[in-house]
Amino acid sequence: MLKTDYKNNTLTAYIEGEIDHDSAVKIRTQVDGAAQSLRPRLLCLDFSNVSFMDSSGVGLVMGRYRQMKLLGGSLRVINIPDRLYRIFAMSGLEGLGVLR
């Protein structure tokens, strides 16, 4: 179960464990479900406890970026461990200003 926290119009989702094509589908369903019911102004994906990520993590972030745009909000990805940064750097996501 995904841990989330909602205050001051900000929904924070604490992503845990490994992000691959398999787990990304489950994370996506839970995050989108929470975002659609709460309609936050800002969605924060907290990556502190992500131990592994392949390019499915990039797809997950890109998808939530689009989703939040549709809902009239914005996205931020916070606490990205250094070792995961290399894939994000390849993705062009840095240019969107969502990575912190």
């Binding site: 691959d20 094509h21 398999d22 592994f52 390019s55 499915s56 890109m62 894939i87």
Partner: protein
């Protein structure tokens, strides 16, 4: 010069997405023998995860089938992994390998699979035939210091 083989393994498993984690963990366990650094191990796991995901998402897109992995370690501490599916094959390998190109945007694929494999391994080769399947060969040297 042909290198002597230190160790070999082969795996086969159905193209279920829960096997992505199984495949990268099994390959990591095989490579552990070489005493890789954390970053080398993580590079291999990431590249294997990408290759296996490609078999599931693309190779067996409209079907299911078996994914085969053959691993080999030679005495120069090079790891060679062949990841193969008997799925639909890739029509244009060059295009498929372009960063950010994906044929499955609706599944939120970033189009980075091959780019990640190339960046995280020393060498990536792709052999594919439409209707027959695809074999991806990954090579990585491990800076082992055990012997």
């Amino acid at each position: 010069m042909k290198r002597a083989i230190k160790n070999e393994m082969s795996l086969s498993f159905p193209s279920k997405s829960c096997n992505e984690a199984f495949a990268r963990s099994a390959v990591a366990a095989f490579v552990m023998n070489l005493d890789p650094t954390i970053s080398e191990l993580s590079d291999i796991k990431t590249a294997v995860s990408e290759a296996v995901t490609n078999c599931i998402v693309h190779g067996y897109r409209r079907s299911s089938g078996t994914i085969y992995i053959k691993g080999r370690i030679t005495d120069d501490n090079k790891v060679t992994l062949k990841i193969r599916d008997k799925g639909c094959g890739i029509e244009d390998v060059k295009k498929a390998m372009e960063p950010l190109y994906t044929s499955a945007p609706e599944e939120e694929r970033a189009g980075l699979g091959f780019a990640v494999m190339q960046s995280f391994c020393d060498k990536v080769r792709v052999k594919s035939a439409v209707g027959k399947g695809t074999t991806v060969t990954l090579e990585k040297m491990i800076s082992s210091n055990d012997d």
